[in-house]
Structures are given as C-alpha cells and as structure tokens.
C-alpha cells in the first residue's frame, strides 16, 4: 500500500485582530486593551492516510476541519509541522468553489479546471460531461456572481469530480445542494472511492459517513480527538442517537 497523506504535528495559528486602522489600534493601546490575540485553529494534528482510504472528518463548527483541508490541499501552509501528499488533489473546500464572481460559468469552468491541473484538451473533452453533471443549462453563460449558492456548489463539484485526482476532498460540499443533486454526488463519490482514490469527506451526517467512509477522524478545538473506526467515531461524537432524523432521509443521509 502507498501512503497518500502524512500530517506531522501540523499546527495553524490564526491571529485575531480587533482593530483595523492606526487610529483604532493606538486608542486601544492607550486604554491598555488587547489589540489582537492568537489561537490555534489546528493544534498538533498528526495522522497518516493510505491510498484508497475514505476518511470521514467530523467535528463541531469551528473545530478546524476546513482549515485542515486547506492545508492538505495546499491553499494554506502550516505554521508548524508538515503536510505531505502524494499525487494530484481536487475537491471542494468550504461551501462554494473558488470562482471569480465577474466571470461566466463557462470561463470559470476552464479557469478552475486549469488551476486543478487539467490541460486544455482534457477540459474540452470533459466539458459536456461536466456541464451535464452540473445541470446548469443556459445559466452557464451568465456571471457566477449571480448564481445561487446551490448552483455555485453544483458547478464546483462537477469540475472537482471530473479531475483525475488521487486525493478527493469534499468539505460540506453537499450542504447546499438539493436532494436530487445530493443523490447524484453521493453516487459519484462512491464511484471515486471504488476507483481507489483517497477521500476526505466532511459531514455532520452520521448516515452519510457510515455509507461513505471506512475511517473517522474527529477534531475538537483543533486537536485530534478521535481517529479510528466509523461506528466508534460516530459514537464518540454522540451522533448515533440521531436515528429519527436519519430515518426521515434514508437515501441521502441528513446533512447539516
């Protein structure tokens, strides 16, 4: 087996600034107030992921899941420790893909695909497939700034799943999609998993994680609180009592 992702004591520190201008800062300093504070959004997290594993990343809001995925994808750099990955990475981090609001869906599609490492030929070849998956129709030639958050996520997800990646990151990607789209995405992700790619899936829905993942990692205030089996992880979070909701949404698993 090949190792896909290695994290060694990865830490990300954010500085919270309470004041923006020189006037505000100097007033606060004169009054003896604090002008900034630091906190660790991700705190000495270490783990190793083998190629082909499907990880459910769970934790409360603000526990550092998106920050962790940003460091794995290379958007952010850890302040301490190191992240190592093998192969191409694609995915959707935090809701909404990195689209330029002033460009049309089509232009954004090409740009986004190029950033994720697709060549022009590859994009041209997959273009129809991506557009069909996103199901945006004539909206494709209007500004992305005017898309609803659901449409934005649809296009972002459609591009990300069509990249030939070795690691796929999905961060609450399906939170804003409608039910038919969610179903389509989950099917696609299962296909990705079966193809032997590594998956990182952030979800608050125990049902989805059960169906999709074979390992759960739980973050708590930026620290690794749990790393192990799916059932134990869900139990650890006390999410296993939510069965009533899940019965209501058997197919897609309830999200958010």
């Amino acid at each position: 087996m090949t190792t896909s992702i290695v994290l060694e004591d990865v830490t990300k520190t954010f500085k919270l600034r309470y004041h923006r201008t020189i006037k505000q800062v100097s007033f606060a300093k004169m009054r003896g107030q604090e002008t900034s504070s630091v906190f660790k959004a991700v705190d000495e997290v270490s783990f190793k992921v083998e190629q082909g594993e499907a990880i459910g990343l769970m934790g409360l809001n603000g526990s550092g899941k998106s920050t962790l995925l940003k460091m794995i994808s290379g958007v952010m750099k850890p302040d301490a420790g190191q992240v190592l990955t093998r192969g191409r990475i694609a995915g959707l981090i935090a809701t909404g893909a990195g689209f330029h609001p002033q460009l049309t869906g089509r232009e954004n599609l090409y740009l986004n695909a190029a950033i994720l490492g697709m060549s022009e030929r590859e994009t041209n070849r997959k273009f129809d497939e991506i557009v069909e998956f996103a199901g945006l129709g004539h909206r494709l030639d209007t500004q992305v700034g005017h898309y609803s958050s659901g449409q934005n996520a649809r296009l972002g997800f459609a591009i990300a799943v069509h990249v030939d990646s070795d690691i796929f990151l999905a961060d609450e990607a399906l939170a804003v999609g409608d039910k038919p789209f969610k179903r389509k995405c989950l099917a696609k992700m299962r296909e990705i998993r079966e193809s032997g790619r590594t998956i990182f899936y952030v979800s608050h829905a125990a049902g989805q994680v059960r169906r999709m993942c074979d390992r759960v990692i739980v973050l708590q205030d930026g620290r690794l609180a749990f790393d192990g089996g799916v059932e134990e992880g869900i139990h650890f979070l006390h999410y296993d009592g939510d069965d009533e909701e899940e019965l209501a949404d058997e197919e897609t698993g309830d999200d958010i």
Binding site: T2, K70, V75, M76, Q82, I89, H100, L111, I115
Partner: protein
C-alpha cells in the same frame, strides 16, 4: 511538485493508477516564479481573464489602456512643449515624450495592476492551491501586451521623421523593455503581497507612480540634468527607469532628429548600454528579492484576505 501526467485518462474511473513511484511532497512545494512559466496554459487563461476584466463594466473597455497614455501625451506636449517652450530646445519633442511614455506607462501599469492583482482575485486565492505569483505576472503580461500597439505608433511617427532602425538601437529597445519588465514584476510581487496585509500599499503606489513620471527624462531632456547637476548627473542614472527611458530614446528618438550624432552626444549619457546591462542585473536582483519576500508573505495571504 511535478504532478504525474496521466497517460490515458480512463473515461469511467477504473482501477486507480499506481502511485508508488510518485514522491510524497508538501502540497505547496514547487510554487514560485519558475512554476508560473511551467503552467503556461493557466497563465494564458489568467492573462485572457485579466484582459477582459481590467476594464469590466466600462463602455470603452480596453480602449482605456490607450486613452490614458494618449491624454498624458497631449498634456505634456502642450504644457511642457508649447507653454514651457521645450519644443524649441528639444528636437522632435513629441517623439521624445512618447519614448518615455511607452516605458513609464508599461511600468506604472504593471506596478499598479499587479499590486491590486491578488486582492482582486481573492475568491480564487482563498480557495484554490496555485502559485500566487501567477497574478502579478499575468498583470505584467497584460501591460506588455499594450506596449506593442504603442511601439507601432512610435515606429510610424519616427519613420515619418526619416528614422531608420539600427542594430544598436534595437538592442537598446529590448534592454529597456527587459529592465522595465523585471522591475515591474519585482514591484508587483512585493506590493501585491503587502497589499493583502495593508491596503495602504495600493494608495502608496499612486504616489510612487507620480514620482516616477518626474524622475525620468521624459518631459525634459537628459541634457538638462547634465547641465544642472554636472558631475552628480551620473547618480541620476542609478534610477533604472531613467536608463530604460534613455534606452528607448536611443532606439527611436535619437535617430529621428535632424542631427542624430550631436543629439546622442548631448542628450544621452556615455556608456548607455553598459548602464543598461548593469540595470538588467539590478533588475534580476530585485526580482529575486521580490520573490523571496513574496514567498515569506504568501504563507499568510489566504487567511488575511
């Protein structure tokens, strides 16, 4: 990092490829200026995007890239040339101004648009991994794109004055543009990153641009500097943009005047090409510094946007 090229992409993702030959690397490895030129297709898309977005929502669009320098040209031509009377002192003063304007406008546009480039592409920078140097470099290439029509106009005007292109002149032109390119990219790199932390930098840029317009022999000839400063005039040449302007004037303006040899003696410094080469070296050093500072700041860019 070298992402492996996929030989034959499977239509439906079949059995996954063997990755054991691919090294484990940090996902941010291999960012930097050299990566920018490896990802030429992405760079091309960004340049295209920037071309369409720089004046988005404006009726005249791309024309603004030419209206700006054109208006500056006529203001200088009239105020400095006619009112202050430099038409009498400097032969072909219009060409003299225009040579300076081509370089100065190229540099200031690169510097200005480059400085704003990362903040303007915020939505992409905070979500997607890529060498962020791409944005300032794309700004530089867009500005370079606008240089060529201006050079065509300049060529036509000079030909009308009986100018013939010469080899040394063309070398001077290339050197001048190269220095402006290096400096513009270095400045754009430094300021685009700094602008993320304090937007004050984009305001600072317009002040610097104003100084630049007056610190080069564009609206006055180099002979004035020589007259007023005497031996100190050589310090003036430590301003790399002054050398750029002089190099372009060597390429076009000198040859368009009635007595090129005399003009070259009074209005160009001796050893201009040596200065040009030295400033190219200085430009490379500045670019390296710019890249170094950029990489340092880059680690904090996505979280501060």
């Amino acid at each position: 990092m070298e992402r492996p090229a996929v030989a034959a992409e499977p239509v439906a993702v079949a059995a996954h490829r063997d990755l054991s030959g691919v090294p484990l690397t940090p996902p941010t490895a291999g960012n930097g200026l050299h990566a920018v030129f490896k990802k030429r297709y992405l760079l091309k898309l960004l340049v295209k995007r920037e071309l369409s977005a720089r004046y988005q929502g404006s009726f005249l669009g791309l024309l603004w890239s030419y209206i700006g320098p054109l208006c500056q040209f006529f203001v200088y031509w009239f105020v400095i040339g006619t009112i202050l009377g430099l038409h009498d002192n400097v032969p072909n003063f219009g060409v003299h101004i225009f040579c300076g304007l081509v370089v100065v406008h190229f540099f200031t546009e690169t510097f200005g648009a480059g400085t704003r480039s990362i903040v303007r592409n915020k939505s992409i920078v905070v979500k997607l991994p890529m060498p962020r140097e791409m944005f300032p470099v794309a700004s530089m290439l867009v500005s370079l794109f606008h240089v060529f029509p201006q050079l065509v106009i300049l060529t036509i005007a000079c030909l009308a004055y009986g100018w013939t292109p010469d080899f040394v002149g063309m070398v001077a032109l290339l050197l001048g543009l190269l220095i402006a390119m290096l400096l513009g990219t270095a400045g754009a790199l430094l300021f685009s990153a700094a602008n993320v932390f304090f937007r004050d930098f984009s305001s600072l840029v317009s002040i610097i641009q104003m100084f630049i317009r007056f610190s080069v022999p564009m609206i006055y000839p180099f002979s004035f500097v020589d007259d007023r400063f005497g031996a100190a005039a050589s310090y003036y040449l430590f301003n790399p943009l002054a050398d750029c302007v002089l190099l372009v004037q060597r390429a076009f303006w000198v040859g368009s005047t009635p007595h090129p040899d005399e003009v070259a003696k009074t209005d160009l410094p001796p050893d201009l090409l040596i200065w040009g080469l030295a400033m190219t070296g200085a430009g490379l050093v500045l670019l390296a510094i710019g890249q170094l500072v950029f990489s340092r700041l880059e680690a904090k860019i996505p979280e501060r946007l």
